[in-house]
């Protein structure tokens, strides 16, 4: 155990980018107010921006759910959870709903931490008419923008609105009455939001970039999608491990997703040109920072991995719900502590088509048979990375008894393209461009596991002939 802790410590010291944590206190909770007096108020937007919601074919075809006919008093609504809270919230007039969200941040946090199933959210949302959807998006954007089951185009638009308005508030803010500590926190928060803006790139970004998760408080959360989740044939989520934060790493994380997208697109185009695939298929890659990743002092605990597990489960549930009868090939590409979070999710009810773990400290599952993975499970282990063989959280996914396939990250020459592929060493070079690791991760994400190298002599035969 001492060795394991030392290994983690050594690995952590090799981390090139360290995202600082900024402790921002939860929004002050004002006294609960009874809001029945506001019922007769108009449906004017509560905020200064207008939402013109996109529509979705699936949304229109979803079953209708009848919302409660009568609004519930705020104090009473605050005791509700899940879909009951959603129905109550959407039954309120917009200003009352906005007041409720501002006055009960803990209720909102609880709703988003343990959200209803995406199918329930999808049904609830589809049951609202366009005016109600628009009003709720303005009144409670943090809720609408972060709930899996709400159409992606809506979430992107709402979250981008929150990003813009929060930046504006913080820039203009400058409340002289606040202390230095709060001012410093606001500054850090503003810098975090600037980084998200940078990661989103220009409006003309190609592929399009969408902001599907946005939590502007504390260490923050953000999910940026490259491509179209509603239509992509292949969807790859990249799951981060220790030290990865929104403020410190979202630009880098989006860059990894962009390079993965480039690589997958290039492979699919090549396969189509070589006649190994009927047509060029599409991909979406997801720069996902959907949970608070650990730092040195709490990396030995599974607490944050459980938080990650729940967030991953909700994310995949949302995708599979919205794609209904047009399911994409879904892969999780998980690094370090993020692989533990992914494993925990896959030990439960979550299912995906492929899983790749790099630098993994394991999980309670003892073999791939315990995981909800329909296809192959891959494990990459770099030299000088002390984490993979640590079995820190109960198992070594790289052990032969585990049943996963090896994914070479040592560097080689690609037998298909003749490209020289660089080696990854240590705990933090798995995502580096031009590496064998990135090449293999890209192939895993597009269901071309037969071309993934394992460092054995068999690699010489992993050519396009395997696909014909």
């Amino acid at each position: 155990m001492l060795f394991d802790a030392t290994a983690l410590l050594i690995a952590s010291l090799t981390v090139a980018t360290v995202g600082g944590t900024v402790a921002v206190p939860e929004q002050p909770v004002t006294s609960p107010r009874v809001i029945t007096s506001l019922y007769e108020s108009s449906e004017a937007p509560a905020r200064g921006w207008v939402v013109d919601l996109p529509t979705s074919l699936k949304q229109r075809s979803a079953p209708t759910v009848v919302a409660p006919a009568l609004p519930i008093a705020a104090e009473q609504l605050a005791t509700h959870t899940g879909t009951s809270l959603l129905h109550g919230l959407s039954a309120l007039p917009p200003i009352a709903a906005a007041d409720f969200v501002n006055a009960h941040p803990r209720a909102v946090h609880a709703l988003l931490s343990t959200p209803p199933a995406a199918s329930q959210v999808s049904s609830w949302w589809a049951g609202l008419d366009a005016t109600a959807q628009r009003a709720l998006s303005v009144a409670a954007p943090e809720v609408v923008g972060n709930l899996d089951g709400v159409p992606y185009a809506v979430r992107n638009q709402v979250n981008r609105g929150v990003l813009r308005s929060t930046i504006r508030e913080l820039e203009v803010g400058g409340d002289a009455a606040v202390g230095r500590a709060v001012a410093t926190q606001d500054l850090h928060r503003l810098q975090m939001l600037y980084r998200i803006t940078d990661a989103l790139g220009p409006a003309t970004a190609n592929p399009q970039r969408s902001l599907l998760t946005l939590d502007t408080h504390d260490q923050g959360k953000a999910t940026i999608v490259l491509g179209d989740l509603e239509t992509a044939d292949y969807v790859s989520y990249i799951i981060p491990g220790m030290f990865i934060s929104v403020a410190g790493n979202i630009v880098e994380w989006a860059d990894v997703a962009a390079r993965l997208h480039d690589e997958q697109t290039s492979w699919l185009a090549l396969l189509a040109e070589a006649g190994a695939a009927p047509e060029v298929e599409s991909v979406a890659t997801v720069a996902w920072i959907g949970y608070q990743t650990p730092h040195l002092l709490n990396v030995g605990s599974l607490d944050l991995a459980y938080e990650g597990r729940d967030a991953i489960a909700a994310t995949i549930d949302g995708l599979q719900t919205l794609r209904a009868d047009d399911q994409p090939f879904v892969s999780l590409l998980a690094h370090s502590y993020g692989s533990t979070a992914a494993l925990l999710a896959l030990e439960d009810d979550t299912t995906v088509d492929a899983l790749a773990m790099i630098g993994s400290p394991g999980s309670p599952a003892q073999s791939v048979a315990d995981l909800g993975v329909r296809g192959d499970v891959f494990v990459g282990e770099a030299v000088w990375d002390p984490i993979p063989n640590s079995s820190f959280f109960g198992s070594d996914p790289g052990a032969q008894s585990y049943g996963a396939r090896a994914m070479s990250v040592l560097g080689t020459v690609d037998v298909i393209t003749n490209k020289v592929l660089a080696s990854s060493s240590g705990h933090n070079e798995y995502w580096s461009p031009g590496t064998e690791s990135m090449r293999n991760l890209a192939l895993i994400g597009i269901d071309k596991g037969e071309l993934v190298t394992d460092g054995s002599q068999l690699d010489a035969g992993r050519t396009l002939a395997l696909l014909h």
Binding site: D255, A258, P433
Partner: protein, 147 residues
């Protein structure tokens, strides 16, 4: 003596630091000129090949590292077109055009696909693939220090 040695060490260290930390782009052009040159190379390649091209260049830069460990960024390109009338003639034309720009060109056959890789002394990379199904033109501009 020891003072002189100490001074020498400091001076040498200073020179190393100045040399190592100087942020120098691969070429003497401005950022926008370097990007324009890269786009012009792609446009010329398209023109040499002919056909209708779908330009999907991403205006969002990718991170890269300029020696020595200086953060930089470069711009990617992705362009697609239908198959040409002749794979060999098309590949030859592109190779000639790139040679004229003093790119180092490598030609590889990947199954039925002919791939040309062009690399400039500034670190630009262009990749042209052609088969009887389609053509793709991809690449990355030179890695420039983040302004």
């Amino acid at each position: 003596m020891s003072t002189r040695i100490g001074f020498g060490i400091v001076a040498a260290a200073t020179l190393v630091m100045l040399g190592g930390c100087a942020v120098q782009a691969p070429s003497s052009l401005s950022d926008s000129e370097a990007r324009d040159r890269f786009v012009a190379l792609l446009d010329e390649t398209q023109s040499v090949v002919g056909g209708d091209w779908s330009v999907r260049d991403d205006p969002t830069p990718r991170e890269c590292i300029v020696p020595l460990w200086v953060p930089g960024e470069r711009y990617p390109a992705l362009r697609l077109a239908d198959a040409p009338f002749s794979i060999e003639i098309t590949a030859d034309r592109v190779e000639s055009a790139w040679n004229a720009h003093e790119l180092t060109v490598t030609r590889t056959e990947i199954g039925d696909v002919v791939e040309l890789k062009g690399e400039s002394s500034h670190g630009e990379l262009v990749l042209f693939r052609v088969s009887d199904s389609a053509m793709t033109l991809t690449g990355e501009s030179e890695c420039r220090p983040v302004a």
